[in-house]
Symmetry: D2
Amino acid sequence: MKKEVRPKGNQFLTHIIEPELREQSERFFDLMLQINDAHTLMLLEQGLISINEAKQLLKISRNLARQGPKGLDLVPEKEDLYLNMESYIIEKLGARIGGKLHTGRSRNDLYATIHRLKCREEVLHITELLLELRRMLLKKAEDNLNTIIPGYTHMQPAQPITFAHYLSALGSALKRDFDRLLAAYDRTNVNPLGAAALAGTGFDIDRRLTARYLGFDAVLTNTLDAVASRDYLAEVVSALSIMLSNIGRMNHDLYMWSTSEFSILQLPSEMVIGSSIMPQKRNPTVFEHIMAKVSHALGAFVSIVTTMKGIPYTHTKATGSEVFKVFWKALDETEVSLNVMVAVLDKIRINKDIALMKVKKNFSTVTEVADEIVRHMDIPFRTAYEIVKQTVLSAYEEGKTSEDLSIDDFNESAMRIIHMPLEGITPGVIKTALDPFENVKRRKSMGGPAPAEVARNLAQMKAELEADVSMVTDKKEKTKAAYDGMRKKISQVIGMSAK
Amino acid sequence: MKKEVRPKGNQFLTHIIEPELREQSERFFDLMLQINDAHTLMLLEQGLISINEAKQLLKISRNLARQGPKGLDLVPEKEDLYLNMESYIIEKLGARIGGKLHTGRSRNDLYATIHRLKCREEVLHITELLLELRRMLLKKAEDNLNTIIPGYTHMQPAQPITFAHYLSALGSALKRDFDRLLAAYDRTNVNPLGAAALAGTGFDIDRRLTARYLGFDAVLTNTLDAVASRDYLAEVVSALSIMLSNIGRMNHDLYMWSTSEFSILQLPSEMVIGSSIMPQKRNPTVFEHIMAKVSHALGAFVSIVTTMKGIPYTHTKATGSEVFKVFWKALDETEVSLNVMVAVLDKIRINKDIALMKVKKNFSTVTEVADEIVRHMDIPFRTAYEIVKQTVLSAYEEGKTSEDLSIDDFNESAMRIIHMPLEGITPGVIKTALDPFENVKRRKSMGGPAPAEVARNLAQMKAELEADVSMVTDKKEKTKAAYDGMRKKISQVIGMSAK
Amino acid sequence: MKKEVRPKGNQFLTHIIEPELREQSERFFDLMLQINDAHTLMLLEQGLISINEAKQLLKISRNLARQGPKGLDLVPEKEDLYLNMESYIIEKLGARIGGKLHTGRSRNDLYATIHRLKCREEVLHITELLLELRRMLLKKAEDNLNTIIPGYTHMQPAQPITFAHYLSALGSALKRDFDRLLAAYDRTNVNPLGAAALAGTGFDIDRRLTARYLGFDAVLTNTLDAVASRDYLAEVVSALSIMLSNIGRMNHDLYMWSTSEFSILQLPSEMVIGSSIMPQKRNPTVFEHIMAKVSHALGAFVSIVTTMKGIPYTHTKATGSEVFKVFWKALDETEVSLNVMVAVLDKIRINKDIALMKVKKNFSTVTEVADEIVRHMDIPFRTAYEIVKQTVLSAYEEGKTSEDLSIDDFNESAMRIIHMPLEGITPGVIKTALDPFENVKRRKSMGGPAPAEVARNLAQMKAELEADVSMVTDKKEKTKAAYDGMRKKISQVIGMSAK
Amino acid sequence: MKKEVRPKGNQFLTHIIEPELREQSERFFDLMLQINDAHTLMLLEQGLISINEAKQLLKISRNLARQGPKGLDLVPEKEDLYLNMESYIIEKLGARIGGKLHTGRSRNDLYATIHRLKCREEVLHITELLLELRRMLLKKAEDNLNTIIPGYTHMQPAQPITFAHYLSALGSALKRDFDRLLAAYDRTNVNPLGAAALAGTGFDIDRRLTARYLGFDAVLTNTLDAVASRDYLAEVVSALSIMLSNIGRMNHDLYMWSTSEFSILQLPSEMVIGSSIMPQKRNPTVFEHIMAKVSHALGAFVSIVTTMKGIPYTHTKATGSEVFKVFWKALDETEVSLNVMVAVLDKIRINKDIALMKVKKNFSTVTEVADEIVRHMDIPFRTAYEIVKQTVLSAYEEGKTSEDLSIDDFNESAMRIIHMPLEGITPGVIKTALDPFENVKRRKSMGGPAPAEVARNLAQMKAELEADVSMVTDKKEKTKAAYDGMRKKISQVIGMSAK
């Protein structure tokens, strides 16, 4: 428990090498074997090793895969997972065969490949979660086309919208987030293998072949770039930061709407936390958690970019090790956020009566009265605005709500400002303009909250979602097909009789 | 000069409203007029204002444009640039006409539009500078296909590469940076106008029409999203951060290579700074400046994302004002970096003799000897590696450089490790393997430093560059055509006789 | 207006040197003269220059001060403000005298000194503003000792507190912020002058003497540390970030309390913004601005620390120039925040009736009922908690508020849980426990909201404030005394007849 | 292995509650018991529980401590560690006794207390490691008072210094880091216990008493501040960021000096990494790791401050949970850095011959020649500077090093510039000025590299170090004494016969 201030032994080994070795083993063991296999197959096809050598290397790889990380005793003095694994293989197969596995490559490109494969896998999983979230948003929106809620600007009642309109706004934001993430995925999924230390190799390797076995979309051509570049990590985390920023803002809204003062939103008991001493408490802490997640992604972005500040464009431990210290954690926090948000969205309910009542009383429909005056009287908007503003100010003073406003109130202000009553404006015009449903229905210009317009927009968003689902499915299947193809090929080779 | 601790007056006006108003006027005056014009034309075409009203509004806009920001006295009590401008217009045209300009829109969508137009303009300029930099990198690379330099990993000599290979690595990175930036551009260039306060409008406006006049690629549909979203800013700045990270790493290399210890790189005197007291000084400070720029973009990203933390998804001053406090400055720093980098790359020269001499002596070609042993003797790579390693260690101890190594040195180690001399390895094989030019030439696998392979790759990169230049040119021309079209239409309308 | 993509001329000069030179001249002109004077006086006292030389140098300095920055034509080719100034002086006095000004120092220590003096001045001003804010908080708190407001946790009503209690919490936070800032000030206010380029000088200078003339508290001893270190900048900005974080959280509260849903807080009209189209709007945007300011300080911290990543511990342009790119702006944003916050706090009013009504109804006093049950019945807290919890749940279902609760409601739950009614609990006990004023009065344990306890605490905080005011006053006076002393000495020297 | 995209069950429980519960149990189990004990003792002394109740509560606490975290089955539905523990205690002791443990407090102040205790412990450990590092720096400096190394500015040779001078610069920086860290410690070590939910309690508790038992320096008075504030976390991490920035810059120097080009520094083999394919490699990767660590602390600072953006000043999950997501990891990375740096400093050696040879040849002593001309000839510094500059430029062109410069070279330049040879400057003067040892010895002004001056300064730094060691020892002992006192008191109470 007590930490030593003046510890014994090789501190570099204890504090740097060993923890990293353990982490590599836990996180990358299988991927390293997979890359070894792809490399072995390629060496065979290029005639750089014999069929017998390939068989032996593939078999021991299969053995290691079966045993898992526990099959390999880790010795920090051997530096890293690869050298530990190679040493095991050489011990089993002898140096003549085991020593050939590393032909034409280096640890630099090997880890560059592992990092990209692992990142690809995680990012793809996140895109799938994001698709789920988008799907849930759209579903919820469809269910709430006519659910009036107050639209706020600066947290003050502005104009009525619908919950569907609100959700569709976020759905659009998340579509952009998806596109950013997928672009990052595409820039991740390229093959650095064969770049060796930094300068490629004189052996006649085929980098397109390993790309195919490993399901990469292309080869990351320049060999220095292949071992030096980690900009894809920064891109992934910036995409996550921005996505979690959007999701966080949505959570801020839900959090506010859950206060007893707003009371617009209901969160089910299973997602609410009590107090250990205050018996009345129902805390929507889930929003507090999700709101915070952007901070961790942002911190990770800072860590990654700063780690790459003041370093050369080549392989270093900054890019090969330190840049990952916070990376995987940021992905985990993102997955938590998405998983939880899908469930939250599924479960929340708008308190429709309260939301509607607010809109009826909080003057947020009065802009439409000004618009109606413009339409009926050829009065410029700015003048109509002043008439309505005076009316509202008087109403405030008299303690009236917008529900209480009548044509007389507006006429009174009109008399003061344009020295005549409103012409052509009937009580019915006022009443309809102030009516939340009518008010919303009229806002049918492109992208507005009118239910018909939102429905139209949702249909389009749904089509986009389906296209995105296909795209992600294709990517998953492509990876799977690649791995399957490799497995098949391995079986074939192992089954061959050595010539 | 002395700042007051207990100042008089309305601090909100003095410290928040007024400085922002001045900045809006300096930065956005012309763009606001342009948007007013597009909106006016649309109102006319939609029959929401008369031809005469349109003429008046367009004419006064033209007048204001002619006078520039100085034509408008700014009154902080009127809050912002728009209300100051409207008040001027109403004063000149009367409320009947001037009051119609704002029909069917709000300041929220107006500024959202301004911000996107301004950002579009700046980002497009940056993409052009980036294209210049990529062009310069390729040109420089073509000139240095055979310029041997030491390739480093961990700042230690690793294997020889060429300056062309190095530059091509960076060229590839900058291509990714370009793609990221252009994607950010595309997500910037969509039209929020017509979203009004947040809920659209009941007036029959046409948002596609204003999009066309203003050169937007599409309409940003959902009206809440249109006023709330600023994720494009974060995306732009993250793309810049990543780009400046890549550029910064290149600068770190150039900075190191300019030390008297490395002496690989020559920077012309005009880019070198002396000392006020040390007469011998030639400081390559330009690299120190450019290396630092990523920090400012990163800081801006943090500022932007954090500003959007803990706020609602709607219009607020966080998104409408604070998020920009550091944004434009980050763009400026980027422009400085690119402008200077183009000039630096144009002017630097590799000290070829020194670079070559280093490679000849620093053992960075010995991996090839191990590879040759593998090729000639069917010895596994790991064993060949050990033979060479022992040889190098002995050489170090004896103070030899790699130039001094002979077949005998390798045989000595071979005897110790495989108990036999190297078979089939002639002195010529060793000599050629150790020769930097030969060494590089052999590394012709995909993406390697062999001049032929680099040349092949550069040709491809050049084709990509040309395609990207076309794309940017198209975007610029599209914008120009839109503005021209609008100008033409305005002249037409102004020239019409009122009906 | 149009920016050139392929500009002519020396880009390093245009984009790096010239803008920096202009900024130095605007920001540091006077300080440079002041340092020149201190250095000149020291050279004289150490016998390194003659009385006549000193007179000439001091006179021309006085002339330059009179003319201000405009008196000096800036030539970018001369690199920086100092060399421009020296060149002017040499031109006027001849090299024999003018050339002696720089004896025993360098630009490295000169700018290090300027930066610390400027930073000292700004930070001292910020501490004064912070003292004002603390004073205003305490004053406001004293005026609101009995102003009941709901205390929230997780934004849900928790227990009643008073506005004074709330303000005192923030007052305590700001006291910590003050201490952090002052510690940063103390680490700023040390003298690097005389460190020369990095290795001091062979001339017999006296660094304590220049420290005294310039009002530094001590000499920053190690000469390499003196030119290399900029950790004080990071410390200042981290202190500001933390302070603005605390202030930002307070603004989030005020912002929420200003919503029409909370309605606890009233902001005067002069600090409220309307809408250009929504006539009913009263937007408390000031809080949105101030809430955001922490982001900019945080971004600046990131920029500063990242700029110093991957650089040597010596003088570089990273520390001498780039680290300041965002520094002064962060100080400006802080000053804005403090100035505005003082005014806001002065002007806001709690809507006492609404706040009280909330507390009466929102069940936030019921913990006290559980405590009373514990006190009267020797029932463990956890059981009492359950009785009250059941009571509240039933009340929720029946649509009751806490004001409606009677002894019968609690007895009903007690019967269910402990199978007996509450003993010794009279209706009066319940009524008093639920009464907000009584409830608050009882919470008189150390630091609690009971008015007497808050008053006690405020008295202590006030004493601390007065002590802090004295400390800052002393620092200001010390600086002033130093400058006065120097001015006097200069007059003396100028008045001397040359020997 | 495969992650589910549409998982079953309560996602809030699975992803948020459960992982946090497990972490609390692993990290805070013992501290929670300790706080329970302190609270129990205080309740007893204040007469709020009986001696028998206290005995039972203290005994079960002792039992739990004996079993450790494994003694407690964790049930996520019970939310957190405290409620799980309370439920266990109630199960064992019955509600009558077990239900009293939480009297007069809440989870809010309980966790606030845990967080401060844990942070205190970790920070104190870090200060001890930092003291070790400072001690090692001073020791190494004392051993290298006469070890000449080139002093660089802008990575270019500037003036000779000694390794001791360099280390003393860093030692001064680390002293400031220590002071910052200790100030953060002091602001951490205050007692929030008794603040309850946010409003204190009506029970007559004594917060000073629990402060004494737990070894806090004071009570964190205001109860809202006590549960809301986490600024100490930000302060700790900012202090660590700045410290790791200083350490990182030192590592950048060591990294550069370890390149084969600089060759000034020798790192022992045990701290050097090879390559899996390049037999000649000796990579000083340890510096790459340590250089990066500032990035992670900086990222953590961003995460912490951003988490606290846009939240109220009260207890929330942002401050109670999310703010810690990256905090402990940042402390771990710091501990790694310090442990490794102590070992690195212990083991590195300067290659004295190479370092000296560089200084002899690289013109970094020529400033002294200019100074000598000033001293001997009453020529202004600027003129002397020009003479030397011309001399150096000619030498460069002729391929001479500074070792080759003679009086004739300087006279040649003097003739061109002042039209006369140097007067009073003998060959010996030149030779001595250019001699590195002599050059350094002369720079004996305050803080300069002259061995005598560095020795003087080191003595002072050593005295400061010893004072700091005492201070930290006192703090450790104070904590230990408090815990011992509590243990004793517990034994006493348990041993008492119940009255």
